[in-house]
């Protein structure tokens, strides 16, 4: 029989185990966090951001544009120019200017810029950076395959030589998206490390902040303000915050909690229901709907190699059966806006042939959708409420979005629900992100929502996205829908447009109007809504955030990849303490 002594022994064993756990916890917790500073940062000197980083802070390679941790490009590394999408202007940054001389692009490198290890930034660094595009696996290989033949430097002038007519639109984009890396550090890295690795241990950049802590599995990533940033002298820009701490996201709702409790200043998360919280200390770019700037278009991408999606009449009927207004109001609470029938973002309004879009563009019209289906041989022969294909087989389209993207999950449920009214059967599915990418890139999918193409200096990237040829076995970045039905014409026009300087407005508009006609007529992908540049501000510690009204405040308020090197840096420099 169990004696008191024995039971006590058992209890003691258990307690010791518990205590040992608690002890190991604190030590391991420190190891896991991987951070160095032993005390909390002064709140008034720190800007807390969230919303960009979902994975761990392991990537710090700015040449891998999809993968680097928050702020790597923008706070640490910088680009030759920056682009202001709201003014449609280029801001000379690490370069003081550039111009085309015949087929060559002549760039002047700014004097007096120092890397944060003290060494000077020179034309040699620019040449080195551009030449990494020649390495296997580089994201910048295209320019070397489509015209760029060589680079020469003389003093602080860099000359890019092109054989044949340069792709001006592409080139403009590279000028403000390619990060400049230090030759004296990066020449030691192997080719694989530069193109697809994350081997950077040195964090040597020209930007206003240096890496402080957080690499690895930490909850936060900390950047410290550096002295000697060149832009203070050149532009009078000074960063008001000593520290920027980005917070790793576990879920949007967890970040919402912290945001509402004044622990996060600038949140670039998507917050469900935020429209009900805006007011007082919670602010956004616009004071009224749509509250947010538009950052990218959410397209419903159909696999045009599979019936019935290969039939453009069916695609049009599908487009007309989707109640996008309901997605905008019910799913998003009006923090997004319905897309133009061409799918081009509002900042490109001047390039859109509005009259043509009005005439040829699709509208939500269930009766019209039904009529088109009936007229093209899609009938409901078995009375189940859904139409069958031309040869009689059932139509059941699988529509996929990544698991966990709750707003998109709701959106495709709404799409399926509204398409039902027109008789089109859609089944939503939510595979994990990697499986979805695999299904999409290999051409196995039927319908997918995609918004990869972001705001940029020109709609060229959108035309490339829709019409790129040739089609390979895997399409990894553009033309997931494998559209070829309009022949070579739209792609040829896109290529022609690429070779037009953006200063040649008349010619640019002419080509784009023709390309847009193909979009409207053929619907290679169906534009649904503009995803917002999610930005919510909590003004309890910092104010003077980007706004539609206010002098000098029209800047891009987000820390997402590729936006700091637009006008995000100015947005940060404009902030003021809320005293």
């Amino acid at each position: 029989m169990a004696t008191r002594r024995n039971r006590r022994a058992a209890g003691a064993i258990a307690l010791v185990v518990a205590l040992a756990t608690a002890a190991s916890l604190l030590t391991a917790g420190g190891a896991g966090a991987g951070s160095q500073s032993p005390f909390a940062l002064p709140r008034q000197e720190t800007l807390y951001t969230s919303g960009k980083q979902w994975g761990p802070y392991t990537g710090f390679n700015p040449l891998r544009t999809g993968d680097y941790s928050t702020g790597t490009l923008g706070l640490l590394y910088e680009t030759l120019f920056r682009y202001d999408p709201l003014k449609d202007e280029f801001v000379p940054w690490l370069a003081t200017g550039g111009k085309w001389v015949g087929r060559n692009y002549v760039l002047t490198v700014r004097n007096g810029v120092k890397w944060n290890d003290g060494k000077p930034f020179t034309a040699a660094d620019v040449k080195f950076t551009f030449e990494t595009g020649k390495l296997t696996g580089s994201e910048y290989s295209t320019m070397w395959k489509t015209g760029l033949t060589g680079i020469t430097t003389k003093g602080n002038v860099v000359t890019f030589k092109f054989g044949g007519r340069p792709n001006f639109q592409d080139w403009d984009t590279i000028l403000y998206t390619m990060a400049m890396v230090p030759k004296h550090i990066w020449s030691q890295y192997s080719a694989t490390e530069i193109t697809t690795g994350n081997a950077d241990e040195n964090f040597v950049g020209t930007g206003p902040f240096t890496y402080a802590a957080g690499k690895g599995g930490s909850q936060t990533l900390q950047w410290n303000r550096r002295n000697g940033w060149w832009a203070t002298k050149a532009y009078g820009l000074r960063m008001p915050m000593k520290y920027i701490v980005d917070i790793h996201n576990t879920s949007n709702t967890a970040s919402l909690q912290n945001f509402l409790q004044d622990k996060i200043d600038l949140s670039n998360n998507f917050f469900p229901g935020i429209d009900k919280q805006i007011g007082g200390k919670i602010q956004t770019y616009y004071a009224k709907a749509p509250y947010m700037l538009s950052a990218n278009t959410a397209w419903l991408v159909p696999n045009t190699t599979k019936a019935p999606l290969s039939d453009r009449a069916f695609r049009r009927a599908l487009a007309m059966s989707i109640n996008v207004d309901r997605i905008v109001t019910a799913d998003y609470g009006n923090i997004v806006a319905k897309a133009n029938p061409t799918g081009l973002l509002p900042t490109w309004n001047k390039w859109i042939d509005q009259a043509q879009a009005k005439k040829l563009g699709f509208k939500y019209n269930v009766a019209g959708a039904k009529a088109i289906l009936a007229a093209n041989g899609y009938k409901d022969t078995d009375g189940d409420g859904y139409v069958e294909g031309k040869s009689g087989g059932d139509i059941n389209l699988r529509l996929i979005v990544p698991n966990g993207w709750s707003d998109w999950q709701t959106a495709i449920q709404i799409i399926a629900d509204s398409a039902k009214d027109a008789g089109i059967k859609i089944t939503p599915a939510y595979p994990d992100y990697n499986s979805l990418v695999d299904e999409r890139n290999s051409g196995k999918f039927e319908l997918v929502i995609n918004n990869d193409k972001q705001l940029a200096n020109s709609p060229y990237s959108y035309y490339d996205y829709l019409f790129h040829l040739p089609i390979s076995e895997t399409m990894t970045v553009v033309n997931f829908q494998r559209f070829t039905q309009a022949g070579a014409a739209p792609w040829a026009l896109t290529l022609k447009f690429n070779k037009v300087k953006s200063t040649n407005v008349k010619l640019a508009k002419k080509y784009q109007s023709q390309i847009q006609k193909y979009i409207l007529d053929y619907l290679p992908a169906i534009p649904l809504w503009y995803n917002g540049m999610w930005a919510q501000y909590n003004t309890s510690v910092w104010t003077n955030f980007p706004k539609a009204r206010g002098k000098g405040l029209q800047t891009t308020p987000t820390t997402w990849n590729g936006y700091l090197n637009m006008t995000g840096i100015e947005a940060l420099a404009n902030l003021k303490r809320n005293t």
Binding site: T253, G273, G333, G404, S406, Q409
Partner: protein
Amino acid sequence: MSEVGHTESVSTGSAEISVVLVDEPERRFGSEVAHFAIRNTKFLIGLSVVLFFLVLAIVGPWLTDAEPFEFGFPTGEPPSSEYWLGTTAPGQDVFAQFVYGLRASFVVGAVAGLVAATIGMAVGFTAGYRGGVIDDVLSMLTNVVLVIPTLAVLIIVSAYLSVSSLLGEAVLIGLTSWPWAARAIRAQTFTLTSREFVSLARLSGRRGGKIIVTEIAPNMSSYLFLVMILLFGSSILIAATLDFLGLGPANVMSLGLMLNLAVSNAALQLGMWWWFIPPGIAITAIVGGLYVLNVGLDEVFNPKLRET
């Protein structure tokens, strides 16, 4: 331990329920059981709770025009006379989701319970009746599966297989929940196998399988019934957890899925209690009702437990 029988502690879902085994073969049921059952408060309470939700699951969908995945209703409304359980943030009818979800939960619980019971009986009877090496092997197999945390296995497997139907989910759950049932049945079978009537049956030349079916099983039918109730309850709990993680069928509304949708749409932050509290309470009530029902029936079947 006492001489009458011995207790077998079993874990189901989150419960630590003891089911008492009895040595005496059971008499004919009929009115004796019914007599005691009706007078047992636990049995009555448990049964009424479960029946209430069962009826709601069956009749509920007829009471509403809305479909669980239908949109177009006002967004984020609290319960009112028009929307009995309110609406979700993107504008769906919570009551519709609730009653269809109840259906799904009952279906999964029943099918998974059946699958687990079948395997458990197969393994338990065989091990208990045959004994010896077969018993050692089966026991070892049972112990191995028993130790491995069910939920961890289910999470991993469901994540890979992308379960798309209720039946698929139920079968998966059944395939991992049978061990404790096997152990309990095996222990009881052991006891019965040593009785004279079984030896007699053996002598008369009947084959093992037949003996199990005709002699042993009927004599533990009440016990089997209790085991199945517990399996039913634990399956509902496991299914709710899997659905909450998003690992259940995504296009079939279930109570766990309601919890998932509520949480990812910030129902907690926005104070939409009507979206996640009803499904949670329903699961708790049904499973709790089943446990209480189980205890009550245990008392009915085993006079020793009846409180005087």
